[in-house]
């Protein structure tokens, strides 16, 4: 038994409207903008003095590279965990 929710749909008038993000080329542009931003942030490490506690925090680009690799590892580990932990949607209801 699932509860009914108001399933109101807006008129289809914008059904044909193309949004900026519908164009994959624009999505790629965003991706490359992100890459450029990362590059800028990485090299900004050369231009200020870090006020941090541990030695490893002083390493050039530590926070950026740490963020990138742990996120990558997180997703790939979670993906593997699916093989052990994923069951059908009605697993507990059967």
């Amino acid at each position: 038994m699932t509860k009914a929710y108001p399933n109101d749909h807006a008129p289809e008038k914008d059904g044909d409207k193309r949004y900026w993000l519908d164009n994959m080329r624009n999505v790629y542009k965003l991706f490359w903008a992100l890459v450029v931003l990362c590059g800028l942030l990485l090299f900004s490490d050369a231009f200020y003095k870090k006020h941090v506690v541990f030695e490893f925090e002083h390493w050039f680009g530590f926070f950026g590279l740490f963020g990138f690799f742990v996120s990558f590892a997180l997703v790939l580990t979670a993906r593997e965990l699916r093989k052990i932990l994923m069951r059908g949607e009605d697993y507990y209801d059967r």
Binding site: M1, T2, K3, A4, Y5, P6, N7, D8, H9, A10, E12, D14, G15, K17, Y19, L21, D22, F31, L34, L37, L41, L42, S44, D45, Y48, K49, K50, H51, V52, V53, F54, E57, G61, F63, G64, L65, F66, G67, F68, F69, V70, S71, F72, L74, V75, T77, A78, R79, L81, R82, I84, L85, M86, R87, G88, E89, D90, Y91, Y92, D93
Partner: protein
């Protein structure tokens, strides 16, 4: 006069009138009560009132200090947001239950002793369960029952701990308890269940996503943060909490990546955020406690905001599953924007609320020299951006176009989300008013070049990892699924073990009864042989032969006498 009234009772008593009102009047009334509550708090002076003696112990119904006031304010603010978001929902049951729930949490916050705390603790637990049931679905019914059982364990532990503590110390006052104190372990576990410690956490991910669109917004704010408050009050500086907190930040994020129900993803990220607060409480320095409680303050707002945006999506489309959603930004632009603000706040982007609060905890952990906890918290910070800051808005509003074109959320929902989003940004941009409310004087500046740049590096690179994984197709797609968590042990394993024991017991019983019956049958057969119609002992003998035997015996005895 208003200053001497227990703050929780204002809402609990006020809930009685809710069923007698209708429509907008009812909603306005439920909004008025928390507003009055805020007004009352502004009139409070540090101190206590409502003292009485029960069972020979001195109780303090209301204790006012900076810590309880901070949580009082944020609980009322969360109530205002929740009530606005639920304005359209004219369900008297949910509305009055929500008021009792908020009132109980506030009552517990101001409780000066363990008995009063227990009373409100239990009331909040029962109200929370009713709030889950208010969704009136089969799933919510069962999830509510599971929550109820777990909450009751917490209550029993709290009461047992309080009894041991009172017996040993002669006082029930609720101040720093610590693990060494008698009953301390019980009380810590009671708080830990409500704070969703690892392995005690599953009621949260199980129950909250099953509540109604509006119910979850209330639930997200109170139970767990009340537990954080209780930990900060009773167990500040307990080292084991650092490690518990660190574990809490790390392991829910793996689940958040693969979970499909976006409200459940938010429940996992709630768990992760609680970990930061618990670790801060464990450190126990003034900076860490300030960090933990201010993070709770900011967290209540942005988490409510995120649950509101997913609630609005559920309300309009009938689903909150990532696999069914996508492309909603086209028709729900405001909700999309508010969701991104919530995501930026939970991810601790500069200029958003999480940045000015979470960083205090991280700095405190580093300053105390805890290397591994620091690295895990950093990992969890990148992870939370990954699943709450990116995954939630991305799969709901962008990603592949689901073809769904729902209307924008109703005005009252937009208003509540807008107010919450405003608060997220306001706290991030101008944290001083929040800092002034904290229990200890704040000597901390969040906006230093070093801190802003390192945070941006961590987050933007984490975003790049997401984008790369998406582009290369390595990112696991959203799939309709159930992900097994620790609740597997009591929803699948325990019923089967109990079933096996019952079946084995049944077989043993059958075998035993069969054996006993066989023995009985043999016994009866043997008795039948001797005592049956043809048995030697049941033969009828003539009276004469008895007399003859009697005479023979008498003759024999006569013979022996002589």
């Amino acid at each position: 006069m208003i200053a001497e009234f227990p703050p929780g009772l204002l809402l609990i008593g006020g809930a009685v009138l809710v069923p007698f009102l209708r429509g907008n009047l009812r909603s306005a009334y439920t909004l008025l009560l928390p507003l009055l509550g805020i007004l009352q708090l502004t009139a409070f002076e540090p101190g206590s009132f409502g003292s009485m003696a029960t069972f020979g112990f001195e109780q303090t119904h209301v204790r006012i200090d900076k810590l309880s006031l901070l949580f009082g304010y944020i609980f009322y603010i969360a109530a205002v947001l929740g009530v606005l978001f639920a304005w359209h929902n004219d369900d008297p049951f949910e509305k009055s239950t929500a008021l009792v729930y908020v009132g109980a949490a506030i009552g517990a916050t101001f409780a000066g002793d363990l008995i009063t705390l227990f009373f409100y603790w239990e009331l909040a637990a029962i109200a929370a369960v009713f709030l889950i049931w208010a969704a009136r679905t089969d799933r919510s019914f069962h999830a509510g029952f599971r929550c109820l059982l777990i909450y009751m364990v917490s209550g029993v532990l709290l009461l047992s701990g309080a009894a041991l503590h009172a017996n040993a110390t002669g006082s029930v006052a609720f101040n720093n308890i610590g693990l060494e104190s008698p009953g301390g372990v019980f009380i810590l576990l009671a708080f830990g269940i409500k704070c969703a410690f690892p392995l005690l956490h599953n009621w949260l991910q199980d129950g909250y996503p099953e509540a109604s669109v509006t119910g979850t917004v209330f639930l997200s704010a109170f139970t767990t943060k009340l537990a954080v408050y209780a930990l900060a009050r009773g167990f500040a500086g307990t080292e084991v909490l650092i490690w518990i907190g660190v574990a809490m930040t790390a392991f829910p994020i793996f689940y958040a990546v693969i979970e499909n129900d976006l409200r459940r993803v938010l429940a996992y990220s709630l768990n992760n955020q609680l970990g930061f607060m618990v670790a801060g409480v464990g450190i126990g320095s003034t900076l860490a406690i300030n960090g933990a409680v201010s993070h709770a303050f900011a967290h209540i707002i942005y988490k409510a905001l995120l649950f509101m945006t997913m609630g609005a999506v559920l309300f309009r489309t009938g689903t909150a599953k990532g696999s069914e959603l996508g492309g909603l930004y086209k028709t729900m632009p405001w909700t999309t924007g508010f969701c991104i603000v919530g995501g930026a706040s939970i991810s601790a982007f500069p200029l958003f609320s999480g940045f000015v609060t979470k960083s205090m905890i991280l700095t405190a952990v580093a300053e105390e020299g805890y290397v591994i906890p620091f690295l895990v918290l950093l990992f969890a910070s990148a992870g939370v951006f990954h699943h709450s800051g990116i995954k939630i808005p991305f799969f709901a509003f962008f990603a592949h176009d689901s073809g769904k074109r729902p209307k924008e959320a109703p005005f009252n929902m937009l208003l509540a989300m807008g107010l919450a989003a405003f608060l997220c940004i306001a706290i991030g941009v101008y944290p001083e008013p929040l800092y002034a409310l904290l229990p200890f004087p704040v000597d901390y500046a969040p906006y230093t070049t070093s801190h802003v740049v390192t945070t941006l590096q961590l987050l933007v690179f984490s975003g790049l990892a997401f984008a790369t994984l998406q582009r290369t197709g390595l990112y696991p797609p959203e799939l309709r699924s159930t992900v097994l968590d620790f609740d597997f042990s009591y929803r699948w394993l325990a019923p089967r073990i109990i079933g096996w024991i019952m079946a084995a017991g049944g077989r043993a019983w059958t075998a035993m009864t069969r054996g006993v019956l066989l023995l009985l049958r043999r016994l009866i057969g043997r008795i039948f042989r001797t005592h049956g119609p043809h048995g030697i002992l049941s033969r009828t003998w003539p009276t004469g032969s008895m007399a003859l035997w009697g005479a023979a015996l008498l003759a024999l005895s006569l013979l022996f006498y002589y």
